[in-house]
């Protein structure tokens, strides 16, 4: 069972990817890119999900996927035209499918009524004449996912067939009515043609491909290839025939027409034409290449004619047992060869990965338990600290830098660093995994708020450490919700303002100075500053006589207890305000800010460190304390001359740096290490640049040097300290605090602190 579970896990991982492909394809179609390849890719995604789900007996999922797939099949064969309306329906269907997958996984539930309604809608698209009645019966279905014994099906692993693989999914169609229809198809139109070419066929310059192509003229075909007789490459006679085919053909034409196709190869090809499906077990056997017990092709195909009636009737009765109990799988049950399959059940999962495993035989991808990587990263972190301590000890002994020992240590340091970089690279992931959840969110929020929104994404491949990725989803979700709910206007308002009724929300990721920056931009009305200001005053968040810049007003929305919505909407009023978002972002050493232009829209900017594990820093001494200043923030360091320092106001002073003045901040004073600052000329000045591009000159007593440090979270181990981003352990084993440069700048800039405002970000 464990093995099966493991395969199941892989299946769900794949489902994630497939769902993303599905959504990506549908979005491409929405953008007008509805060429055959895109539609095929979309179809394949749904088909593959259905295939895998069938294997695990995930009934409701299979049933929904089947209806979905049927419509997509009609779409790709151009039976129905691709329209924006249809794409919108398909997108919603993909959301329902995603819900089914989650439910099957045990995460959440499916609204079966909604699912049934969706299925009914899909059916109407497939066949406008179809009465929606069958779907009405669907809500009765239980949404329970039963861990059924694996219904081993011959699911083709790619879904690129031209037709639904009737034999595997026939019993799982949506309703009894549909079942009956399918049964009708089975009886009348479906043929199984087994083709076993002889070597002479090829020698006479005939071609199986041509035969198959001729067959496909009669109707949709699905060939199943049996290569069990194929010898190893070295022993392969390149001119001998080994591979045989079993072709499922759906045609209105009779057996004669099928035989005609093979007229020219008569004698050079063993042919068997039977009405109905090939028994699942036989096809399976050939598909899975169950080596030893594989029946002789002869017998395999001879049995083909027998069980069709059983197949037709069985599913109707067997449907319920599957849902209620993990009883015999309906697919295999009716087939006469069921016992061998059942007996092979333990073998089946083993055979399965070949079909399920996405990376394929190339093995270009390894799935690794993230915990192992985390552990490795922890260990490497310890190694870095250890190496630093060792270097320091050796230094204390006054060993010459040119000595073998010192040189060996240098090499060790480089190696350690390379190991660390490599290990971190393992954990780096593109933000795509988070971004791809967002189109759905935008659709849902837009639906709920009655707005029209289009999401444009940029920089999905920007890589960032996994630890950061996991924490991105929440803030992005909130920023997007906010952008649509508060930023975008209603379609009517937009029309009145001369805008496209469909608003555009842009979600972008980029690297900027060693951090990842996420931007959420809308083309809505922008922040109504008057209202924001009046609300902030009314709620007592700021004092009425305060004069604020536009940016400062915009950023008031991050204050705790601030909500501008006239009415609490479903979307934004869920009790999580922007202040919570801001706090959680700050806890990660990130910042969030907003800029807005009235009538043109707003932009949220979120920036986070690329990794939460290591940091390059400058080790400095302040009032006897050792601090680390992130190197990414430091522009330069200098020793100030007395004439460069000018007083400003009663306590402040600025430093003249090449034609500009930057505020001089004594770190010791700001962090309350001391109460009076020594003259700045006694210390060292580090010119730093904050997230918003503002500069400041931090005064420290001395610089110890540059070092890579392993970040240890203060929040996790202690609590958040203002002005301090995190802590680290130095080479000598002492703990040093890592400075939060922006917070230090803001602490100083804020002057008389506002009563409830932790940090008010304002751009200069």
């Amino acid at each position: 069972m464990d093995e099966l579970e493991a395969i199941k896990v892989t299946f769900f991982q794949e489902c994630e990817e497939l769902l993303a492909d599905l959504e990506g394809g549908l979005l491409a179609m929405q953008d007008g890119n509805d060429d055959g390849d895109t539609v095929n890719a979309v179809f394949r995604a749904v088909h593959s999900i259905k295939g895998g789900a069938g294997a695990f007996g995930l009934e409701p999922l299979v049933r929904f996927a089947h209806v979905f797939e049927t419509l997509l099949d009609a779409l790709r064969s151009n039976e129905i035209p691709s329209t924006p309306d249809l794409t919108a329906v398909l997108l919603r269907a993909s959301d329902v499918l995603a819900d089914h997958v989650s439910a099957a996984r045990g995460l959440g539930t499916v609204d079966m009524a909604a699912s049934a309604a969706m299925a009914a809608e899909l059916k109407i698209w497939t066949d406008p004449n179809a009465a929606p009645a069958p779907a009405a019966a669907a809500p009765v279905e239980t949404s329970q996912y039963v861990d059924a014994a694996p219904i081993v099906i011959g699911a083709d692993d790619d879904g690129m067939d031209d037709d639904d693989l009737g034999f595997d999914f026939q019993p799982m169609t949506i309703s009894l009515d549909a079942q009956a229809e399918d049964a009708a198809v089975l009886e009348d139109n479906v043929w199984t043609v087994s083709i076993r070419p002889k070597s002479d066929l090829y020698r006479k310059a005939n071609e199986t491909a041509l035969l198959l192509r001729e067959l496909s003229r009669l109707g949709p075909v699905q060939a199943t290839l049996d290569d069990s007789a194929l010898p190893a490459l070295e022993f392969l006679d390149p001119e001998a025939a080994y591979v045989t085919w079993s072709v499922r053909l759906e045609t209105e034409q009779g057996e004669e027409a099928i035989r005609e196709v093979f007229e020219f190869v008569d004698g050079d090809c063993d042919l068997e034409i039977t009405r109905g499906e090939a028994p699942v077990a036989d096809v399976l056997a050939s598909l899975l290449n169950v080596a030893a017990p594989a029946p002789e092709p002869e017998t395999a195909f001879e049995t083909a004619s027998a069980p069709e009636t059983a197949l037709i009737e069985a599913p109707v009765e067997a449907l319920a047992p599957v849902v209620e109990a993990a009883a015999p799988a309906p697919v295999t049950a009716p087939a006469p060869a069921a016992p061998p399959v059942a007996a092979n059940a333990p073998a089946a999962p083993a055979a399965k990965p070949a079909q399920i495993d996405v990376p394929g035989p190339g093995q270009s991808v390894i799935r690794v338990d993230p915990e192992r990587i985390d552990h490795l990263i922890d260990l490497v972190g310890e190694l870095v600290i250890n190496q630093a301590m060792l270097a320091q000890r050796v230094g204390e002994y006054g060993i010459a830098p040119s000595s073998n020992l010192a040189m060996g240590l240098d090499e060790l340091e480089q190696l350690t660093r390379q190991i660390q970089d490599s290990v971190m690279a393992i954990r780096a992931q593109p933000v795509k995994s988070v971004f791809q959840r967002m189109p759905r969110l935008v659709r849902e929020v837009a639906n709920m708020t009655g707005k029209q929104a289009r999401l444009v994404m940029d920089g999905e491949n920007t890589e960032v450490d996994k630890t950061v990725i996991e924490r991105l989803a929440d803030p992005i979700t909130h920023m997007l919700r906010n952008a649509i709910d508060h930023g975008l206007e209603s379609p009517e308002e937009r029309k009145a303002a001369g805008k496209n009724p469909e608003g555009v929300v842009r979600l972008a990721a980029l690297h900027r100075s060693g951090r990842i920056v996420i931007e959420v931009q809308d083309d809505g009305k922008g922040i109504n500053r008057e209202r924001v200001l009046s609300i902030a005053v009314k709620k007592g968040l700021i004092s009425p006589d305060l004069t604020l810049t536009d940016e400062e007003i915009d950023n008031l929305i991050f204050l705790p207890g601030f909500s501008t919505a006239d009415k609490i909407s479903d979307v934004s009023g869920r009790g999580v305000g922007m202040d919570v978002v801001k706090r959680s972002v700050q806890a990660l050493g990130g910042r969030i800010s907003i800029t807005s232009r009235p009538g043109l829209g707003s932009t949220f900017t979120l920036s986070l460190p690329l990794t939460l594990a290591v940091l390059d820093g400058m080790v400095v001494d302040v009032a006897g304390e050792t601090l680390v200043i992130p190197l990414a923030c430091i522009v330069e360091s200098l020793r100030p001359k007395a004439e460069e320092i000018r007083p400003l106001g009663p306590t402040g002073s600025v430093l003249a740096v090449r034609d500009s003045f930057v505020p001089l901040i004594d770190v010791g004073l700001t962090l309350n290490y001391r109460t009076t600052s020594p003259p700045a000329t006694d210390g060292v000045v580090l010119l730093v640049e904050g997230e918003d591009g503002s500069r400041a000159a931090l005064v420290a007593d001395a610089i110890h040097g540059q070092r890579q440090v392993v970040i240890k979270s203060l929040e996790q181990n202690y609590q958040q300290v203002e002005g301090v981003a995190a802590a680290t352990i130095l080479g000598d084993g002492r703990v040093a605090l890592i400075l939060d440069v922006d917070a230090v700048i803001n602490l100083r800039r804020r002057g008389p602190p506002l009563p409830s405002d932790p940090t008010l970000i304002a751009a200069e």
């Binding site: 198959l212 290569d227 490459l233």
Partner: protein, 95 residues
């Protein structure tokens, strides 16, 4: 070590023996099979491709079919051999 084979336009009876030979010679290396030129693919060469694929799988070496032509993909599907010969990445490329 990695190597590549460029498949010819026509993969018929005449092409199957050289194709097999080409694969046998490259056994044990990572291989890329360029299928962009293929216009016709017959059953014999399909067998060689299938056998080669198996051999590479056994060796645990990557076997990549790159830039498959439309005709190649279509015929592979017709043969029902997409599972073995059109990996996901190829499918993606074809999409």
């Amino acid at each position: 070590m990695s190597t590549a084979i460029a498949l010819p336009e026509t993969l018929d009876l005449k092409a199957s023996a050289p194709l097999k030979q080409a694969f046998v010679e490259r056994r044990g290396q990572n291989i890329e099979v360029h299928a962009d030129q293929v216009r016709r693919l017959g059953g014999l060469c399909l067998q060689v491709l299938l056998a080669a694929r198996k051999a590479w799988d056994e060796d645990g070496k990557p076997f990549l079919i790159t830039a498959p032509s439309e005709a190649f993909v279509e015929t592979i599907r017709l043969f029902g051999a997409e599972g073995a010969l059109l990996q996901t990445d190829i499918q993606g490329a074809a999409s």
